[in-house]
Structures are given as C-alpha cells and as structure tokens.
C-alpha cells in the first residue's frame, strides 16, 4: 500500500496516541443562526447578531446539523441518544460570547468504534456537537499572537457547526493513526456530512501523544499537538514528539503536559500553553437551548439510510475469498475503489472468487467501471478459468468492457480470440517439439536454468504461431506432460 517505511521507535518503547478530530459539518447555514456556512467569503460578511454574540441575541439550533451529527455518530457505531448543549467558559478575542456552546457530559454520540483494514479496532469515546470560533490573523511585528502589532478577526467562521470526534488513547502506531484519520474521512464523505478537507480546515486533527515502556499499561504524561495540516504532517508530528519524549525519559527527565505547535516547514514542534495551570472551563448546561431528544424513529431512519461502513464491506468481501490467497490490502483496495459490490455480485454469479478479486485489483484501476455488469464480469472470469481466454486476452476484453459495457463472448469473438481447443494446442506443441529437438533435449534433460529458459522459448514460439490465443497455463501443462511422458 505505502512505500513509506514505518518509523520504528527505539527498542523497548511503545507509542500511545489519542486523536481529537474536529469536523466542519457541510450545512447550508451556521449552527445557531441563518448565516451562510461558507468557506472563503469576504471577511465578516456571513455574520449577524446571533453569531456575533451581541447582547440579547439567542441561539436556535440548526436541525440539519444535529441530524448530520447523529448520522456521523451512527456511522461510527456510537450510542446516539438525548443530549444537552453546554457552555465552556473562557476568554478569547475571536470567540464572540467568551464562551463556546458545546456539549459536555451528555454528548450526542458516545461509545463507538472504527475498524481499520487490518482489523485493528479504534475506540471512539464520543462525538459531540459544538460551534466554531472566529479566525484571528496576526499582522505586523513577528506575525504571531505574542508579537504582532494588530490582530484581525474574521467572524465568518464563528458559529459554524463542528463535530469533535474523540478517540480513546489506543492508537499504537503512526500507521494506525493515519489509517484512522483516513478511515474517518472516508466515512464523512460516504455519508456526505462534511467535505473533510484538511487543507481548508474543515477537518482538523489534534494528536495527544505519549510513550511508555513496551508492554506497560500505564498512561504517561501526554502532549497535545496542534496545527497539523495533513495526514502526512500528522505522522511526522507524532514521530517527532514520540522521539522527543523518549529522549527526555532516557536522560532521566519527563515531558510536562503542554500543548505543542507543529511547524511543518521546520519539521519540529515548539511548546505552547502549559496545561499544568489548566483553565477551569466552568461547564454548565446552556440555558438558552433545550435538550435534544431524538425519537427512536429518527434514529431508525438514519440507520436505514446508512451506507455500509467500509469495515463491514471489507468483512463481507473477505468472507467470500480464501484468506490465504488474497491479502488484506487487496480487499481494502477494492473497497476503497468501491468495487466490492461488483466483486461480490460476480462471485454470487458463480465466478471464481480469487480470480475475480485479483483481476479487479490488477486490471480495473479505473475511475468509471459503471458499465460492467456482475453477470458479464462473471462470464469473463469463467472464460478465464476454463482456459477459453488467456490472461492477456482477458485483460483486453475487460478493457473493452469498461468502455462499451459489452458482453465478453461477443467482444472475444470480434477480436478473433477464438477458443483454442486443447487438442489443437497439443498438435502445435508436438509439432514444435519435433521441429526443435535440441531445445527439447535441453528442456527435458537440462538443469533448472536450462529448463526455465527453454520453457520460455517453447511458450514464446507457441504464442507466436497461435497469435497469442494459446493459454499459457495449458501450454505449461502440455510441456510438462510431454517431458514426463
């Protein structure tokens, strides 16, 4: 799947990562008012008294945002039930009310999971609804919050609906962390509740990283990494942080609990706010909003409309294919490409499962395979299995099926891929043996190298005289038969 080599931690150390993923919901309007939820507008154009938190204004919750959040919760196999909004109180210049309306002890979704392609289970602690803040730009001076001359605030983002998905601190490798984030992204796109673009900030990842001696169950002091802008950057940030912490422990020191700012260009993180004097957010139930109580019918509707989860799709395909012959990656690739349904249907039509999966993996790496029906694919694989078509011919027929959606039989015929009866092939093989006695002697009596070389010679000659219509495997079998006989 990936050419990157998994960075390994020094011997004896284990990684412990929990991810907090913020996802902007793709609603038309903001969470508590009718302003457009739109990225890239002129600053401070999508604003009103409510999202500016003006005195006297009141929030009214966006029903679509709640529905999207519940859909996401169910997609992550969470419990979804009654929930309440709460206030998280702290002062920040781009937060209009100086409190964030969020969820605290009763989130919309909790206790879920996401299964990775290799069968690793990532526990999801909770997925709660909250509002986004405005966006500050620090200009002049050093351009950072501490040394800028001015701070400009754009409130277009204030009140945009977010869901924060909190994983358990159970991710044990960088690859798993990456697979989890990309799996989340796949789900978000599949249920169409977010465009999940990390580069535009509609999906943001904070990573809580700690390390511990291999085999230990303890959770040591963690650092929270912020400003991660891509999955790749997350991997680098986690690796840097793990090595930094191991270094500290190795020198008899300990990391302190803090937020760290990842600098992608420099490839390192710098300390931010210490969490030792952590803010007391004084959470309490938001009195301006009422309890959210979804009915059983609403949840049932969401479940009914839910597309199958990638993990469930992988399992469904996996069950039909012999585990020994097909790797996890191949199954995951077909699910990622959305070809699992086609494969399952073709297998259902009686095609050989292993051949179906292998053929699709190697020869159907195309965006649009919508013209291929399961029946036609099953027929094609059957022609391959029976030797009616050679592997080369199958590829060519499949390629034409992608373009035209035709049936494999007529396509093979039109291309002159006549089925070559085994008897005819045997005649040609015998004739070639007679014409090339020296080569045949080397094939029968030579060492392994000779035999291999001569097998290539005879196969090539046969293919040339049959214009590629001979089945390579049948040729090999005939050669073996004749040499044994």
């Amino acid at each position: 799947m990936t050419w990157l080599i998994e960075p390994t931690l020094p011997e004896g150390w284990e990684l412990v990562v929990g991810l907090e993923v913020h996802v902007e919901l793709a609603t038309a309007t903001k969470l508590f008012c009718g302003c457009a939820n739109q990225f890239g507008s002129e600053p401070n154009t999508n604003i009103c008294p409510v999202c500016l938190g003006l005195p006297g204004s009141l929030p009214v919750i966006n029903g679509t945002a709640v529905k999207y959040a519940m859909q996401l919760g169910r997609a992550l196999q969470c419990e979804v039930g009654p929930s309440v909004m709460a206030r998280k109180n702290y002062f920040y210049p781009d937060m209009p009310k100086d409190y964030q309306t969020t969820q605290y002890d009763q989130p919309t979704s909790f206790d879920g999971e996401l299964m990775l392609a290799d069968g690793f289970r990532v526990g999801v602690e909770r997925a709660h609804i909250e509002e986004d803040t405005g966006k500050s730009t620090h200009v002049g001076g050093g351009g950072r919050i501490n040394d800028a001359v001015h701070s400009l605030v754009d409130y277009n983002r204030a009140g945009v609906p977010l869901v924060e998905i909190v994983s358990h601190p159970c991710l044990d490798t960088i690859e798993h962390a990456k697979a989890y984030v990309s799996g989340l992204r796949d789900i978000l796109l599949a249920i169409a509740v977010s465009d999940a673009r990390m580069e535009e900030g509609s999906m943001r990842v904070d990573a809580n990283v700690s390390v511990r001696p291999m085999g230990s169950e303890e959770l040591r002091t963690r650092c929270e990494l912020k400003n991660i802008n891509s999955i790749r950057s997350m991997g680098r940030a986690i690796e840097y942080e793990a090595l930094r912490q191991i270094d500290l422990y190795s020198n008899g020191e300990s990391p302190r609990q803090e937020t760290r700012h990842w600098d992608e260009a420099a490839g390192r993180s710098t300390p931010g706010r210490s969490k030792e004097d952590a803010d007391d957010y004084r959470y309490f139930q938001e009195p301006d909003l009422v309890r959210l109580v979804p009915s059983a019918a609403e949840i049932a509707t969401i479940d009914d409309a839910m597309p199958a989860r990638p993990s469930a799709r992988r399992t469904a395909l996996r069950q039909l294919v012999p585990a020994a012959s097909v790797s996890v990656d191949v199954i995951a690739t077909l699910v990622d490409r959305g070809q699992d349904e086609l494969a399952i249907a073709a297998i259902g039509e009686g095609a050989d499962p292993e051949k179906v999966v292998t053929r699709l993996q190697h020869d159907l790496a195309v965006d649009d395979f919508s013209k291929i029906t399961a029946g036609a694919l099953a027929d094609l694989i059957r022609m391959e299995t029976t030797g009616e078509l050679t592997a080369t011919q199958v590829k060519q027929v499949l390629s034409e099926m992608v373009d035209t959606g035709g049936e494999p039989g007529p396509i093979a015929e039109s291309r002159g891929f006549e089925a070559m009866p085994t008897d005819d092939l045997a005649g040609i093989v015998d004739q070639l043996i007679a014409e090339h006695p020296d080569e045949w002697t080397r094939f029968v009596g030579g060492d392994d190298g000779d035999r291999k070389k001569m097998q290539g010679f005879f196969t090539g000659e046969i293919m040339r005289s049959t214009r590629g219509q001979a089945d390579g495997r049948a040729v090999a079998e005939l050669l073996a038969q004749r040499s044994a006989g």
Partner: protein, 482 residues
C-alpha cells in the same frame, strides 16, 4: 385614563395619538428630573409612531389593541439604533442593530415606545440604586426607593409618565417594584414572552412582563407581547390562553391557598413586616368572601429558594456577562495586551454589585465547588418544582405578600447585600419554578406607602391568577383594603 380606554379613544378617532403622547411627554418634562424613571426619552421616535397611528386611524385601518398608548421599555431590552445600556458603563456607546421581539410586537400592536427606563445595572438589584446613572425615586415618596430592578418602569407607570411599561423579572424585578410603587406587575410563565433581545442576566430565570395601573391593562399588554417566537428556543409553542376573556370570571369555587412559609406562618421566612402580613390576610379574607375556598398550604422548600437563586442566577450571569470584554463594542480601556485590556475594561465598566455576582457565580461553577454550590442549587430547584406541583394538586392558586416591606429609604440596605437580597424572598420561587405570578396593589402600610399582594399559579395559569388579581383590585377600589 387606562391604556384600554386610551386605545379605544384613539381607535375611535376621539383622541389623537400625538396628543396622548404630548400629554405624557409634558408630565415627564415636569417631573422626571426628580424621579429619574428614564435613561432616555425617545420623543422623536415616539412622535413618528404616534403620527403613524393617527394616519392609520384616519385611513380607516386599525392600528391594533395598543393604538397610541405610550409604553416605557426597560433599558435592558434592545431597540434598534437606540442606546440600550442596562444602566451600565460597559455598554457605553453601543447601539443595537436590531429590536427585541417584544419591541417589534409593541409596534405591531400600535403602541408608542416613549423611552428607555432605568434599572439596577444588568437587572441586579432590588432598589434601582445599582444604576450607573443614578437611582430612580419612588413617585409616592421621593425619599424612598421604587424597588428594583425594574424601578424605572414601575415609577414611570406610577408617575403616569406612561400607562404601560415593559420590565424583566429574574427574581422579582417586576413584581417587587410594582408592589413598592403601587402598580400592577406580572411575571408570566417562563417561555410565554420571547426573551429575544432581552439582554440576559440569568437566562433560565429571566422573563419579560407587563407593568400597568390596572389588571386589565396588564393583560392587554401581556397578550400583545406574548406568544411563540421561533427566535427563542425556550419560547412556548402552544398558543397562549386568552387572559382578557377570563378576567371577570371571579373566584367563586376557586381553591385559594395561603403559602404559609411566605406569609408569616411558623417555620417560614422571617422579616415580613406585620402590616404587609395584615394586608395579605385581608386579601385572602376578601377572596373567601367572594366565594373562594381558602386553605393554608405548606411549600417547605420555598424557604430555600433565596439561597438557590443566589447561586443559580450569579452562575448564569458570570457566563452571560463574559462577552463584555472590550473587544467589539461598548467600553474599552486600552492596555498593552488583550488580557489586560479585557480586565481593565471590565474593571472600569461594571459596578460593584455586578462584580460581586460575577465573582459569586464564577466561584459556584468552579471545579471542586460546583457540586457543593451550583449542583446543590439545581437540586433545590428541582425540589421546589416538585413541592409546588404537589401544592397545585390541592389548590388552584397561592397567595403571598409580594415584598416583605413597603418602600425603604435610599442607602438603607446598600451596606449589607444580604439585607437587600431578602427583598426577593417571596418572589424568587416563581422564577425557579418557571410559574407565573402577579402583584396587585392592596392597601397601604403603616407608613402610608403601597403594599402588593402576590398571586401564584401553575404554568400557563395566567387567566386564573389575573382574574384573582382583578377581584382584589375591585375590592381595593371599593375601599376594602385598609
């Protein structure tokens, strides 16, 4: 003339709305220098509204049930383009870009909004002495406070500056000043009137309500401003029952309970003065004489209301008032860093009582203290709700005094916050339970100053409690309250 009579005369074309306005503006001109009911008199806006009413009448269109009636609006209620101060320095210079729902509804009913009335800063207080712009005086005796926090609205109606006024009531801020100023004031069921545009003090307790000189006028005003508002998530969706239709149904057969713990009974709250208890007892006797079945009802947790309130209300206030940070509007005191600017602005902008409550509320919500304070107060609130529900199994309405005493002197209670807080002891339970309550004038105290009697009822029982108040009003007008 009452608001109902004025409106009828304007609608019939017998009186011009502009004349009505001028008459009231003249009274304000004459006496508000002394009373200080208003932070701002919006004479120009009022005149254009009055002219619109007169032209509507001239063109044969009905301007609405409050046609041409001047209404004073508490200055914590947003008015577009007109300063809305909460009687605080922190909102210095801020002009709301929108109207509160009640302000729009007043206009739709044909009312003329005549000005913004003084209050205790952010509605925190019981005497209007906490206004950053100086106190309001009681029109009955200018050496006394008008009560609070809606002291300006109560005084405006008592001084006939306007027949009607809008107030807000978080722990008694309409009913207590109504009692002290000898006018009618009601806190509706929580959610009966939209809070959109009411600058929040304590969101789960705040409710807008009417001041008037008569129960019927208060009913008309409440009906005009009430009803569902999609912009307030806590607004009741069901249509409000008509109050006016039920106003003269009397109390024959009605089950009336005297809430013993708040009416001088044993084990109840102390400090209710004998003349106030005497008037309350007399009111109950009058209701019995009018056909009500009277009994004594105990609501034990009612005595805990004050303590619970002074944790819940400050806790919510500490959060609601965070937004006044000097960043976007209102007062800003410059300082080297944003954090220091926040602190400097808030230190200069808020008065002592507001600061006290922000600190109290911040403490009550803090990690390690939440369970012992805010959490426990919420439990008391649940208990109160349960006890009232049990009481309303036995009776239809409950009767208590509105305020423990008649109007007191300036400075009498400012040195001791607890002495001031006790003023709300009879009114707070209705805010905690979300139930409606009305204060109606019933005689005077030993000092000759007005006394109010309070009628409480279950959620959405406004038609009943207003009709009981109407009976007491009638008794009092015939000299039955002495």
């Amino acid at each position: 003339m009452t608001a109902i009579e004025l409106s009828a005369a304007v609608r019939a074309g017998e009186r011009s709305a502009v004349d009505v306005l001028d008459e009231h503006l003249a009274r304000i001109e004459e006496r508000d220098g002394e009373i200080h009911a208003f932070n701002l008199v919006t004479a120009d806006l009022a005149r254009s509204q009055a002219e619109a009413v007169d032209s509507a009448v001239a063109e044969g269109r009905d301007p609405g049930p409050l046609a041409g009636v001047p209404v004073a609006v508490k200055d914590n209620t947003c008015t577009r383009g007109i300063p809305t101060t909460c009687s605080s320095r922190i909102l210095d210079g801020w002009l709301p870009p929108y109207n509160a729902t009640v302000v729009d509804r007043l206009a739709a009913a044909g009312a003329v909004t005549i000005g913004k009335t003084n209050l205790d800063e952010f509605a925190m207080g019981s005497s209007t002495e906490n206004s950053a712009f100086g106190p309001t005086r009681n029109p009955h005796d200018t050496s006394k406070v008008p009560g609070g926090s809606s002291g300006g609205s109560a005084a405006a109606v008592a001084a006939a500056f306007a027949p009607l006024a809008i107030g807000s009531d978080t722990g008694g801020s309409i009913r207590q000043p109504a009692a002290l100023c000898g006018v009618v004031g009601a806190k509706p069921t929580y959610g009966a009137v939209s809070r959109y545009g009411l600058i929040a003090f304590a969101s789960s307790l705040d409710q807008i309500g009417p001041f008037a000189t008569t129960v019927a006028d208060a009913a008309v005003l409440l009906e005009s401003i009430g009803g569902h508002d999609p912009r307030d998530s806590t607004s009741i969706e069901a249509p409000a029952p008509s109050i006016l239709d039920a106003l003269d149904r009397g109390v024959d057969g009605l089950r009336v309970g005297v809430l013993t713990e708040l009416a001088g009974g044993p084990g109840g709250v102390e400090g209710i003065s004998p003349d106030v208890i005497a008037r309350t007892t007399q009111a109950v006797a009058a209701l019995e004489a009018a056909g009500a079945e009277v009994s004594e009802v105990s609501v034990p947790s009612a005595t805990l209301g004050l303590s619970a309130y002074y944790l819940i209300a400050p806790a919510e206030a500490s959060s609601n008032l965070s937004r006044y940070d000097g960043v976007r509007y209102g007062l800003r005191v410059d300082a080297p860093t944003t954090g220091e600017m926040n602190t400097a602005s808030r230190s200069a902008g808020f008065g002592d009582e507001v600061k006290r409550r922000i600190m109290l509320g911040t403490y009550a919500l803090s990690a390690g203290y939440y369970d012992a304070f805010y959490g426990k107060a919420l439990k008391v609130r649940t208990l109160i709700l349960r006890d009232f529900a049990a009481a309303y199994e036995k009776v239809d309405v409950l009767v208590t005094p509105t305020s423990p005493t008649t109007a007191f002197g300036f400075g009498d209670k400012t040195a001791d916050p607890m002495a001031m807080y006790v003023n709300d002891v009879c009114t707070i339970p209705s805010n905690l339970s979300g139930h409606p309550a009305i204060s109606v004038p019933f005689g005077v105290g030993d000092d000759g100053l007005p006394i109010g009697v309070q009628i409480l009822g279950p959620a959405q029982s406004e038609p009943t409690i207003f009709s009981v108040a109407a009976v007491l009003e009638d008794v009092a007008s015939k000299g039955g309250a002495r």
